[in-house]
């Protein structure tokens, strides 16, 4: 059996040609291609689907064009609070985290919850502490924060528009 497959997403919204510059379009396609290649290489070599999706999602978390990890959107209070989950279809094992603020790659923390705890879902300060105990790479607030996302929050507050407008109409 040599069959393998992978599918990815980087978010949905009002993504129209006249709203995305050719340069940004190319940048995002390159990032998606890199993510696909990362996962495909693992699967082609006989790696597990768990390893493939974790590595794939990490590349997207590390790319500030996407709302995850570096480049995550801001809360009302000007912080970056991230959520992630992962599930193994063979065993139905699952792990999830919510409101984490310092783990560089939240998907790895979700996986650690799945593999190294007796729980499924950790949140907030507890999840942050678990991340430290697991020895996962940490990052300071300025790593996650980007000017583009800060401008989105400021636009939302100054124009009294909804988060729906910001997230779906403006990326």
């Amino acid at each position: 059996q040599d069959n393998w497959s992978i599918v990815i997403h980087g978010g949905a919204g009002v993504l129209e040609r006249d709203k995305i510059s050719p340069e940004k379009d190319a940048e995002i396609r390159a990032a998606l291609n890199f993510a696909l290649k990362t996962g495909s290489d693992i699967l082609r070599a006989g790696g597990t689907s768990m390893d493939a999706i974790a590595a794939t999602i990490m590349t997207l978390e590390n790319n500030e064009n996407f709302n995850a990890g570096k480049g995550a959107v801001f809360t009302w209070d000007g912080k970056n609070e991230m959520d992630a989950s992962i599930m193994d279809g063979e065993t139905l094992a699952a792990g999830a985290v919510a409101g984490v603020t310092a783990t560089k790659n939240p998907i790895l923390l979700a996986r650690k919850v799945m593999t190294d705890s007796s729980h499924v879902f950790l949140s907030g300060d507890g999840a942050n502490k678990f991340s430290l105990e697991m020895g996962l790479e940490q990052a300071p607030p300025e790593y996650f924060a980007t000017d583009f996302r800060r401008q989105q929050l400021e636009k939302m507050k100054s124009q009294k528009i909804s988060s729906y407008d910001v997230d779906l109409k403006f990326g």
Binding site: I6, H9, S40, G69, V73, D77, D83, S85, E90, N105
Partner: protein, 167 residues
């Protein structure tokens, strides 16, 4: 929000989702991304799903689990007739997910199930989309927004990435 679903050479499906959530969120708001069954789900005998969009609606519908369940139920008739010949896994359960066209659901059926659940999401007022991968090799998307950053690849198809809805 970002996500990935994969099927490896052993037929094992995994799904994951990661997000910063919603701009300007208050009160510790959490969407569907970290909720198993809403934004993420994987089960070897049906499918893997990762979702993106207005989380409250995905939670109410349990979108990821709903799609997987409908696929599992749709497969049941084929399963029942073929069960005697299906290899068993270590738990003694039929390995329907072994890559085999003999027991596969049609591509159109899988896509229709995903589209129907997203249509239902839209009726409730939700927007967004999902990616799916099945044990029979189908990979794809369904979304009700003008576009979705997305891509797919497999052992028998080259990698493709898309952004806009008409791609």
């Amino acid at each position: 929000t970002v996500g990935a679903v994969a099927v490896d050479k052993n037929g094992n499906i995994a799904a994951g989702t990661s997000t910063g959530g919603m701009t300007g969120k208050k009160w510790g708001r959490i969407g569907d991304s970290p909720i198993i069954g809403a934004g993420t789900y994987a089960r070897n005998d049906s499918c893997g799903i990762s979702a993106t969009g207005s989380g409250e609606y995905f939670i109410r519908l349990g979108v990821a689990h709903e799609i997987c369940s409908r696929i599992r139920f749709a497969f049941s008739s084929t399963r029942d007739t073929a069960q005697a010949n299906v290899p068993k896994d270590k738990h003694g359960m039929p390995q329907y997910y072994i890559h085999s066209n003999e027991w596969a659901l049609d591509d159109d059926v899988v896509q229709a199930i995903a589209d129907n659940v997203i249509a239902e999401l839209g009726v409730l007022g939700g927007t967004g989309g999902i990616i799916y991968a099945t044990p029979w090799g189908q990979i794809g998307y369904s979304f009700n927004t003008p576009g979705m950053y997305r891509g797919k690849a497999s052992n028998n198809a080259p990698a493709t990435v898309s952004i806009y809805g008409d791609e």
